[in-house]
């Protein structure tokens, strides 16, 4: 469509328009086609099939312990988000996905071929006057950044076998937390209290995923409390402050956004609190103490600072700087690689090293202390209904990173198809260059009901 737009512009410049031409282009009244079913915004159901191919690195700096490593995966799933009214002010919401999957390292048939992800199931009561009470498994999202959300405290351990490394997809494919949520929203702001009890012992790092299990050991392995308040100070200044407590550790957060003219929005997301470094946290959560680790806590900050720019031709760019003070220090990286190289033939040691990274991945914590994230999205790229997105995230310490491009095309009102590819890059002893996955390609087709 953009190419056509350019051609149209050139024609417009070259040939003076005839008066009245515009009216000739107007379709007659009533010349529309009704939808083939009454649409309902409270009900989204779709079926999707994904086929993925994976390429893996050989000669890793730290070898993986022997484990399944699929080179292809087939996944068919039914996904539903449904809200049912139970009365005048009460509703029930279910959000979940039933997966059927197979790959070249998975026995078939087995219980691993099928899995249900219960993302949300909660009852909501609108108490009136902008007050809400909700109870059940709720996906409570916080934060204003795109690539990394330091204040999205309920993201930890919530993502199960994501379909994409794109942070926006990770937020879709995650489990909610069983909680009691109370919220008051008024014209000048909002106050939110979330209480999430501990229901089970925390899941072990890299624990296998059962077929039918709400996985409360992942989302409710610790008691958690979140209090957040947003206030409209001026029309364009609407800060949100957060206080979060988990297992006796308190964090504070801040979200800010501001427009700069018509095309740019700037945003800042910060979280800080007293905590140990990533290695110590992983050890405290069950990773073998294979690396030097300091149990001392210090005030550490997480920051995402970014801008969003609405460019011509239906393109949006985001650029973000991410800071994660609890991430790997230079010494942590050196220890991780040196220990792995020295014990490359010992699966117990390499397994312990990868468990630390698995812990960070489960918690959606970057290893990097500083990174850059850039994303571009184009609507109606070249032809109508074709959306292109691409992002790259790079560790500022070693220049390694991950890049992804995706194309999604709406074949019709109910059918969509897409393809995405992501690749990691970097030196052998770098953050992303040391990962086993080098390239993956996914093709998908979806049918909405």
């Amino acid at each position: 469509m953009r190419a056509a737009a350019f051609a149209g512009l050139l024609l417009l410049l070259a040939v003076p328009a005839r008066a009245g031409d515009d009216i000739d282009r107007i379709p007659p009244l009533g010349d529309d086609k009704p939808a083939d079913a009454a649409p309902d915004a409270n009900r989204v159901v779709y079926l999707q099939n994904d086929v993925s191919l994976y390429a893996r690195r050989t000669n890793l700096a730290v070898p993986l312990p022997p484990s399944p490593a699929a080179s292809w995966e087939e996944r068919l799933f039914a996904d539903a988000r449904l809200t049912f009214p139970l009365g005048n002010a009460v509703s029930f919401t279910y959000s979940g996905r039933l997966n059927f999957r197979a790959d070249d390292d998975l026995p078939f048939p087995s219980h691993q071929n099928i899995r249900h992800d219960l993302r949300e199931a909660y009852i909501a009561w609108q108490a009136g006057g902008g007050a809400f009470l909700e109870f059940g498994r709720i996906n409570l999202k916080s934060g204003v950044a795109l690539g990394y959300n330091p204040t999205d405290y309920f993201k930890t351990n919530a993502v199960v076998e994501p379909l994409s490394a794109d942070p926006s997809v990770l937020r879709e494919d995650r489990l909610g937390t069983l909680m009691f949520l109370a919220q008051k929203v008024w014209d000048g702001g909002a106050l939110t209290l979330a209480l999430a009890p501990k229901l089970q012992r925390p899941a072990a790092i890299g624990a296998p995923l059962p077929s039918f299990d709400p996985l409360f050991d992942r989302t409710n392995g610790r008691a958690r409390v979140l209090l957040k308040a947003s206030l409209t100070l001026f029309d364009d200044v609407n800060p949100e402050v957060l206080v979060y407590s988990e297992a006796g550790r308190t964090s504070f957060g801040l979200n800010l956004t501001r427009a700069f003219g018509q095309s740019v929005v700037g945003y800042l997301e910060w979280s800080g609190g007293s905590r140990a470094g990533l290695v110590q946290d992983a050890v405290a959560s069950g990773a073998p103490p294979i690396l030097p680790h300091d149990p001392a806590r210090a005030f550490r900050s997480d920051l995402a600072l970014g801008v969003s720019y609405a460019a011509p031709f239906e393109t949006t760019f985001n650029l973000e700087y991410h800071c994660h003070q609890a991430g790997f220090s230079a010494a942590d990286w050196r220890n991780w690689f040196d220990t792995g190289a020295a014990h490359a033939a010992d699966p117990a040691v390499t397994g312990a090293l990868w468990a630390i990274r698995g812990y960070a991945s489960d918690r959606q914590e970057p290893l990097a202390r500083g990174s850059l994230f850039a994303r571009a999205a184009v609507q109606d790229a070249f032809v109508p209904d074709l959306a292109l997105t691409a992002f790259v995230e790079s560790d500022l310490r070693d220049g390694s990173g991950i890049a992804q491009v995706a194309a999604d095309y709406d074949l019709s009102r109910r059918w969509s198809a897409g393809v995405l590819a992501d690749a990691t890059f970097g030196a052998r002893r770098s953050d992303f260059g040391s990962l086993p996955g080098s390239l993956s390609v996914l093709a998908r087709v979806s049918r909405y009901f």
Binding site: A5, I26, W186
Partner: protein
């Protein structure tokens, strides 16, 4: 001689001042025709036509309410159709725009310029009081064809941004003299390029007035593209101010 020239200049100045004032009033009167001033909701259907054939169709529910502080509308737009977009929302609160996706329960702030993207941009389905965001100048009287090729005696107005809430750098606007019905508008980019031509048509009684129920948007850049925007099922509704807060979005249940 001097006094006659002075009086003539004074009269000219007074006439110009009266025109400036009346231009703004004409735009305000046309706003009253387009938009009910009490809170209301409506179903909006946009259909994109390429070379005269419908190629895309979207349905939204729009809730609109005037902000007493700015006199401008705040809008909550809920995507209803196609099914893949059902439940997505855009909140417009002055220059503050949030896009909400129920799949991730994530709201992302977007730049105001992003309302201009898409075949039928979100900006085209919004309720807007042009008299609030633009300063009008009367260019003169003109008889033009409306969308049905009927002759209309109109005021021809030139609108320039009065504040940051104005989406376009310039708008040419034709308002029928007798009825204050908006008939046609032309929208220009910052660079002065004509972006789109808009016709209002299908005037129908509703919500205490006779209002246009269809806008026809003719893309001035892509000569094959035309979009119609239909407004239906409009009804007054008490809309709490809290609906226009970002934190309210996860609680919105579409009717």
């Amino acid at each position: 001689m001097f006094s006659a020239r002075f009086i003539a200049l004074a009269l000219l100045a007074c006439t110009a001042a009266a025109h400036a004032q009346s231009a703004q009033e004409i735009v305000a009167a046309a706003d009253l025709v387009r938009n009910p001033q009490a809170p209301y909701r409506s179903t909006v259907t946009d259909i994109a036509y390429r070379d005269g054939k419908p190629v895309d169709r979207n349905v939204f529910t729009v809730y609109a309410k005037i902000d007493p502080a700015t006199k401008q509308f705040r809008d909550l737009v809920i995507y209803v159709d196609p099914p893949r977009d059902a439940g997505k929302m855009v909140l417009f609160r002055g220059n503050v725009l949030w896009f909400y996706d129920p799949a991730s329960k994530d709201s992302v702030r977007i730049p105001p310029q992003q309302t201009l993207t898409g075949q039928a941009s979100a900006g085209d389905i919004l309720t807007e009081n042009l008299a609030v965001n633009y300063t009008a100048t009367l260019l003169g009287a003109e008889t033009i064809d409306d969308a049905g090729r009927e002759k209309r005696d109109c005021w021809h107005l030139d609108l320039k941004p009065a504040n940051d809430g104005a989406t376009y750098n310039r708008v040419e606007y034709w308002v029928e003299k007798i009825t204050a019905h908006p008939i046609k508008a032309k929208f220009y980019s910052d660079s002065g390029r004509l972006l789109k031509i808009l016709y209002y048509r299908n005037y129908t009684p509703g919500l205490g007035g006779v209002r246009p129920t269809q806008a026809v948007i003719i893309d001035a850049v892509d000569s094959a593209l035309v979009t119609t925007v239909d407004f239906a099922n409009a009804q007054y509704q008490d809309i709490p101010d809290a609906w226009f807060q970002r934190d309210y979005l996860p609680h919105v249940k579409a009717d």
